[in-house]
């Protein structure tokens, strides 16, 4: 029995030496992605993974990517990030708001690794950048469509957590729905989850039972689409196109397009030109797209929604242009005034006309 074991050990040693040698020769730039949900959500995480695949396609063998799915927001994330770095990652993308502290803690311990945190604001170390998309521009377009298409004048909104990103989306959608339909009301349910298909389906059903005939979601699964389909309500794809639900209930969608940003930043890191930044791009840069508007939308609404979309793509229109009051009636933006990014980034109030309360 001794001989086989010795042979095996020798083979293993040879193998590991060979592997080590190969790695030394052409060491690819290794990039780790930390996802909050499964890739199979066909929503938020799926779009980030599309970005990762675009990176692999673009760089070929020069870049190696790894990812971890369904990583809980909090201390667990730091463990996952650390593991990726110990396994050789040179750059880490953390793709959910709740990874902010874990990302910065890891960045402090690994100053030579580049960190990119999606939808965050914490940049405690020079090797941490944040990036986000101006989803609220997309919300303006679907709000416009919703305002036109609702017959009950009640729009149901499945919100995730009461963070500025989500509140901004509700405000933008509401403002543009009200602009074309003064009687429209929004009903918001806070699901306190990014991804829980059953809970999202239940929330959609509750909103429909409360009279909503349009469902918007700021959660990641397609479950609300199925409920809307059964109830004859209309819905919008979120993060990914969700085209499988077109033409009804899904009449349009807001799509996140991360690939170009990922390719740019990884390229910069490889060349050594990467600098800390706080990127916030939207329709003009192509980070936010509107999915195909289905035939279910009346012709003239499709035209006006397209015009609204184009006015944002060209940069001539900002969804938060005054006059806009806060929910309590106090003035926020004067006639023609445009919201500054600082206020938008920290938005914690509803605009006038929304009837619910933001949980704190």
């Amino acid at each position: 029995m001794k001989t086989p074991i010795k042979t095996l050990a020798a083979a293993l040693t040879a193998l590991s030496l060979a592997a080590g040698g190969a790695m030394a020769q052409d060491d690819p730039f290794k990039v780790g992605f930390v996802y909050v949900g499964p890739i199979g959500d066909y929503g938020w995480t799926w779009t980030h993974d599309q970005g990762r695949l675009a990176v692999e396609e673009h760089f070929g063998d020069a870049v190696e990517t790894v990812y971890a799915e369904s990583v809980p927001e909090g201390a667990d994330a730091e463990r996952v990030i650390t593991q990726m770095i110990l396994d050789g990652a040179d750059m880490i993308f953390t793709t959910s708001f709740g990874y902010g502290e874990a990302t910065n803690a890891a960045a402090g311990r690994f100053p030579d690794v580049y960190f990119e945190h999606a939808t965050g604001y914490l940049r405690e170390h020079p090797n941490v950048s944040t990036y986000s998309a101006r989803f609220y521009q997309g919300r303006a377009v679907i709000g416009h469509i919703a305002g036109h298409m609702t017959e009950s004048n009640i729009v149901g909104y499945i919100a995730s957590y009461p963070i500025p990103e989500v509140i901004r989306g509700i405000n933008s959608a509401y403002l543009h729905a009200r602009a074309v339909n003064p009687d429209v009301e929004f009903r918001v349910i806070w699901a306190y989850t990014w991804f829980d298909p059953a809970a999202e389906a239940d929330a959609a059903q509750a909103l429909i039972d409360a009279g909503a005939d349009v469902i918007m979601q700021h959660t990641d699964s397609t479950a609300p689409q199925t409920v809307a389909q059964e109830a004859g309500a209309i819905s919008f794809g979120q993060a990914s196109d969700m085209i499988q639900f077109a033409p009804l209930p899904r009449v349009a969608s807001i799509i996140d397009n991360w690939g170009p940003y990922y390719i740019r930043r990884i390229g910069e890191a490889m060349e050594g030109t990467w600098e800390q930044s706080d990127t916030w791009e939207g329709m003009p840069e192509g980070m936010v797209l509107i999915g195909e508007m289905s035939e279910a939308i009346p012709e003239e609404v499709r035209a006006s929604a397209t015009a609204l979309m184009e006015s944002m793509q060209s940069g001539e229109y900002h969804p938060f242009t005054g006059p806009i009051n806060r929910q309590d009636g106090t003035a926020w933006l004067a006639e023609g005034e445009i919201a500054d990014d600082g206020t938008l980034a920290g938005m914690a109030f509803y605009v006038e006309g929304l009837t619910g309360e933001i949980p704190n």
């Binding site: 499964p38 806070w190 929330a203 509750a206 409360a210 397609t222």
Partner: protein, 306 residues
Amino acid sequence: MIDPVTLIVALIIVSTPVLLAAIGELVVEKTGVLNLGVEGMMIIGAVTGFITAVETGSVTLAFLAGMAGGMILSAVFGVLTQLLLSNQVATGLALTLFGIGLAALLGVGYPGSSLPPVPDLFPASMQAIPVAGPILFSHPLIIYLAVLLVVAVWFLLQHTRTGLVIRAVGESHDAAHALGYKVIRIRFLAILFGGACAGLGGAFLSVARVQNWIEGMTAGAGWIALALVVFASWKPWRVLLGAWLFGGISALQLRLQAAEVNVPVALLDSSPYLVTIIVLVLISSDRARAALNAPAALGKVFHASG
């Protein structure tokens, strides 16, 4: 402001997957086996049920496949814990992790596939009856089966010889063995039954409730089922009550939010868990009696010696 009829309909639908998994686990625990793999068996049932529904177009086959999927996974647990005497807690946890991963693998390519509709048991004319129609007659067969299953399990455990044997094995496997009962065989059958129930609950979730396969879609329902069994102090009727409470409060809190009732959302969101636990703890607050009801051999390894 809140329509009680749609609320009750939602309650029944929300509670069914948890109820099915919990009643199965109750029987397993009554035989003295603690299977923490409920979540894993549920999600396997969800994916096998969904795939079968897509491929065959038959809802009946889908539910059977969900049961089979859960059973196969539970058989792995049975072999490991009953024949190879592995630790039940560790094996159960591993089963959950394995089930979630395997389900994700099996389900690749299936999210968003279109499904055959799940037929309702009663004709549309009966569903049109005001109030009673939607509440009593608007559901698919599985929902009625779930409630019947609770009745059947209660009857089996309390009023039949088989039930007595199951409880004896769960109280003292050595005594039951000494009396000549096949401890391992009884436990293995109970484990398979628990797997089938959890798998059916999962299949109901994917095929009837969400009508889609999405990775990780059980999102903790299996753990709630496990907690229900304990808080219901291993009594079938209390499991039913707990599942309805959980489903009812879950459905109610969403409707309170939609109606913009002025209650803190964080409280509403946690209320299904809080209320279910508080109520079940209160009704089983007589500690001596509750302890009496817990299977004494729960989680203990049985090895026929001497």
